[in-house]
């Protein structure tokens, strides 16, 4: 436990020191929320106000930025530069290290979500969530599922140089298609077919139901089930293929 606290402090220090990480995974979603909210915050999307609808999608975008993309990119860079190998040479248990990395990511996502909700309230008069428990549980579930997928993702990227490119090529289209920025209702059929298998689609739907329609987490078992299933795939791939050493040659 003492080791975990020590490593978590170190991870948080590293998080705050990395400008790339702070900008792309943390600030960018907030900036996009401000920009998009200013653009169509007062329009109506279906029965909902634009800003309210957008906030749910942007929480999803914040989720994939921090827990999936940010985590995957910095873990690949750590692996390929040899930092993970160095950590393996110390008595710090691998499980403690990974737990601290995940906890730091979760904290970053929590702070980002609080900022998102605060911006929604202050700039766009989005009502504060009424289902707090369901919201926290859903955010936690999303963080767990996407962090697992992020760790799984590290196994398919071979070089530090390719990390940003590969991860961006996955998560940016996913964010679009899943409807982080706009309503997916006007998307052509084939995009909606893709959206139907993306885990982010289900997370955003869960967010909209909890934030806009006052649902509870346990009212949406099917969405929860899809997220759990994707998270499980991430866990299996990560356990099976995760590497501590740089790719040979």
């Amino acid at each position: 436990m003492k080791l975990f606290a020590h490593e978590l402090r170190g991870e948080l220090l590293l998080y705050t020191r990395s400008r790339e990480l702070a900008f792309f995974t943390f600030l960018l979603p907030l900036i996009l929320f401000v920009l998009l909210g200013s653009t169509y915050g007062n329009d109506r999307i279906g029965h909902d106000r634009g800003a309210n609808f957008l906030e749910a999608g942007m929480l999803g975008y914040g989720l994939v930025s921090t827990a999936f993309a940010g985590l995957a990119i910095f873990m690949v860079i750590r692996r390929e530069s040899g930092i993970l190998k160095r950590v393996r040479a110390t008595p710090l248990p691998a499980s403690t290290y990974i737990a601290a990395v995940l906890a730091a990511t979760l904290i970053a996502f929590a702070v980002s979500s609080v900022c998102m909700i605060a911006i929604g309230r202050l700039l766009f008069s989005v009502p504060l969530p009424s289902r707090w428990l369901s919201l926290v549980l859903a955010l936690g579930l999303g963080a767990a599922a996407f962090a697992a997928l992020g760790l799984g993702m590290t196994t398919v990227v071979r070089s530090a140089e390719g990390a940003s490119a590969t991860v961006n090529a996955v998560y940016l289209p996913m964010a679009f298609i899943a409807g982080s920025f706009f309503s997916p209702h006007s998307f052509p059929q084939f995009l909606r077919a893709i959206a139907d298998v993306l885990p982010l689609t289900y997370f955003i739907r869960l967010m909209r139901d909890v934030l806009l329609h006052g649902h509870q987490l346990w009212d949406n078992w099917s969405d929860v089930g899809v997220l759990v299933a994707w998270g499980a795939i991430g866990v299996v791939v990560a356990l099976w293929k995760f590497r501590w050493e740089p790719a040979e040659g």
């Binding site: 220090l13 530069s81 040899g82 160095r86 393996r88 040479a89 110390t90 008595p91 740089p246």
Partner: protein, 277 residues
């Protein structure tokens, strides 16, 4: 007591036999070098001892444990300097040492480590602003901060300019002064000579010579060359005086000349090249 015992160590990567049965021992408190050209098996050997790679055969004991099955606490007793000095670029020297020191039960005080590796002036500098030589010194510091008994250094000065190499040598000597056992790999003969108590020369996965640096270079070191019937004759001897006397006496008796006679000492470089080529 031996800190490291290696017996008949074998390692293959697919068809390629990287180690073909090597044996050596490292005594407590000594600096032992594995010397050899690239691809001789140095890094494979050191990474098996560090517990990163599995061996295919043979017996290995590092501080009394088999690295392939050693518990986490065992890692607290060794320090590792890898070939690439990867570290967190956005931490400063002091923070890096404090972070890694926290992984050990009884770390050395951070300020003390900074002095040992000579980074007092850079203690608050971010890692990404350090020079190559300074990074390597921090690397030594990270290997040292857990107060290990045994330190592995894998090619610690490869690619360095002469000044950075000398300063790394100073640091390695100071590690030694702390009573650490050190295993060093290098392909620089002068480095092995300068730093080690004993050297094993590796070539294509086999140890071709072991001994003190002096032992290795003493071996038949005088070379006598002359031409006889149009063919070059080369003699290597540890008793050049006697051999020369006999040669010249015979030539005098026969009334002939030792054509192209040349007597010279072989350089250390030549001995090494001969062993490894």
């Amino acid at each position: 007591m031996n800190a490291v015992v290696v017996e008949d160590l074998h390692k293959s990567y697919g068809e390629h036999e990287a180690l073909r049965g090597i044996s050596f021992e490292i005594r407590e408190g000594e600096v032992f070098s594995l010397l050899g050209p690239n691809g001789a098996g140095k890094t494979t050997t050191i990474e098996i001892l560090e517990g990163y790679r599995r061996r295919n055969g043979g017996r290995v004991s590092v501080l009394g444990a088999d690295p392939a099955q050693a518990p986490r606490q065992w890692r607290g007793r060794i320090g590792v300097v890898l070939q690439s000095s990867a570290m967190y670029e956005n931490l400063n020297v002091r923070e890096s040492l404090a972070l890694f020191g926290g992984y050990y039960k009884r770390p050395r005080p951070v300020d003390e480590v900074i002095v040992v590796v000579g980074l007092q002036e850079k203690a608050d500098t971010l890692v990404r602003r350090l020079s190559g030589g300074q990074r390597r010194r921090l690397d030594f510091g990270l290997a040292l901060v857990g107060d290990p008994e045994l330190v592995f250094l894998d090619e610690p000065t490869t690619g360095f300019d002469p000044a950075a190499r000398r300063s790394s040598w100073e640091t390695i000597r100071s590690l030694r002064g702390l009573g650490k056992t050190i295993l060093l790999t290098t392909h620089y003969l002068d480095e092995a000579e300068q730093l080690s108590d004993r050297v094993a020369v590796l070539r294509e996965g086999r140890i071709v010579a072991t001994g003190t640096p002096a032992d290795l270079t003493r071996a038949p070191a005088t070379e006598i060359r002359y031409r006889q019937n149009g063919e070059d004759v080369i003699l290597r001897t540890e008793e050049p005086t006697r051999v020369l006397a006999e040669l010249t006496a015979r030539a005098l008796e026969a009334g002939s000349e030792l054509e192209g006679l040349e007597v010279r000492r072989r350089s250390l470089e030549e001995v090494y090249l001969e062993l490894t080529e």
